[in-house]
Homo-oligomer: 170 residues x 2
DNA sequence: TTGGAATGTCAACAAGGCTGACGTAAACTG
DNA sequence: CAGTTTACGTCAGCCTTGTTGACATTCCAA
């Protein structure tokens, strides 16, 4: 490290969590943890003709029943062509129902069918089981910190989506 | 909710962080945060002929210089064909150097070239900047919790890789 | 010397992103 | 009312990044 960069003074050790090494560990932790995070649903979906994209669509339709295509588009952050490909198969397979809007007939409101809800349950049970174990292992204070850091890491628009979903949860 | 499931007793509120709703918020937080996590490097890479897979390879080669292909394979969790495609372009473009092993000449040890290190710096600077801001905003206790939960979320083999990288960091 | 390990490579394929173009119906607006 | 915008769907084509399967090479080790 013969470049001109200074070592952080690190008064006491209160700023230790901001060293490049700590940050890099945070980055790697995100990488490895996300793999675990998606592993269980991926395993379930591998047997069917579905993938992660279907899981995401199903998750958010379940979370916000009656959501419009455009709304879902914003939450997922993909193009309509990409989402449409996924929705088409889910609708064709009878997991998702699309209803023309009453007020605005241009809009389509999306709902899970009973079968769709069944798959959603299966997927989210698996994912929640891992999350539950991690939460239980780590304890409430750690969980609070986990949430705080993740929220701070989001893009502002994503944080808005996140908060809106939180509020809408009764 | 007319099924037979019980509401969690939630003695006091010490178990509130384990309700299904809290778990689902944790799941969504991971989803949205990971998007932010990858957004900055993705933007940089979009201008080049590289993608996230190249970033990951460069990151871990930088982190563990001289690592073998097989080792990298285990860390990244992809097939050798998939990794090889990425490595081939990186080597051809002069960002990565592959050296035949001295002891075991079947092995290839991977290193970043000066140019590779330069790109790595650029990418990780961007990613660390976001992580640093998130860490600073959230504070040290939150960061500790963040790390604890993420570690608990990893698959055991991934946690091993993670720990090994941690130790090797001087 | 032979089996197996580590690596590389070819081919083919799939998921899931993307852009661009186009069409239709509905709603809004001047 | 005419024209524009919005919401959605769809076709076509492309890219990245993952997969499997097959096969060659090199070389260590029993």
């Amino acid at each position: 490290m013969a470049d001109g960069r200074m070592m952080a003074p690190s008064s006491g050790d209160s700023l230790l969590f901001l060293t490049d090494e700590q940050l890099r560990q945070g980055i790697e932790a995100m990488f490895f943890a996300y793999r675990g995070f998606t592993a269980d649903p991926d395993r379930i979906l591998a047997d069917m003709a579905y993938g992660r994209a279907h899981h995401r669509a199903i998750h958010f339709i379940n979370r916000a029943p009656g959501t419009t295509v455009n709304n879902l588009l914003n939450i997922l952050g993909v193009t309509k062509q990409s989402l449409n490909r996924v929705l088409r198969t889910l609708i064709a397979d009878g997991l998702v129902q699309s209803k023309v809007g009453r007020n605005d007939k241009r809009e389509r409101h999306l709902f899970l069918t009973d079968e769709g809800r069944k798959l959603e349950q299966e997927l989210s049970d698996a994912q929640r089981a891992r999350m539950r174990l991690a939460f239980r292992t780590a304890g409430p204070e750690a969980v609070a910190g986990f949430r705080t850091v993740l929220e701070a890491m989001m893009d502002p628009e994503m944080r808005q989506s996140f908060d809106r979903l939180r509020e809408s949860a009764s």
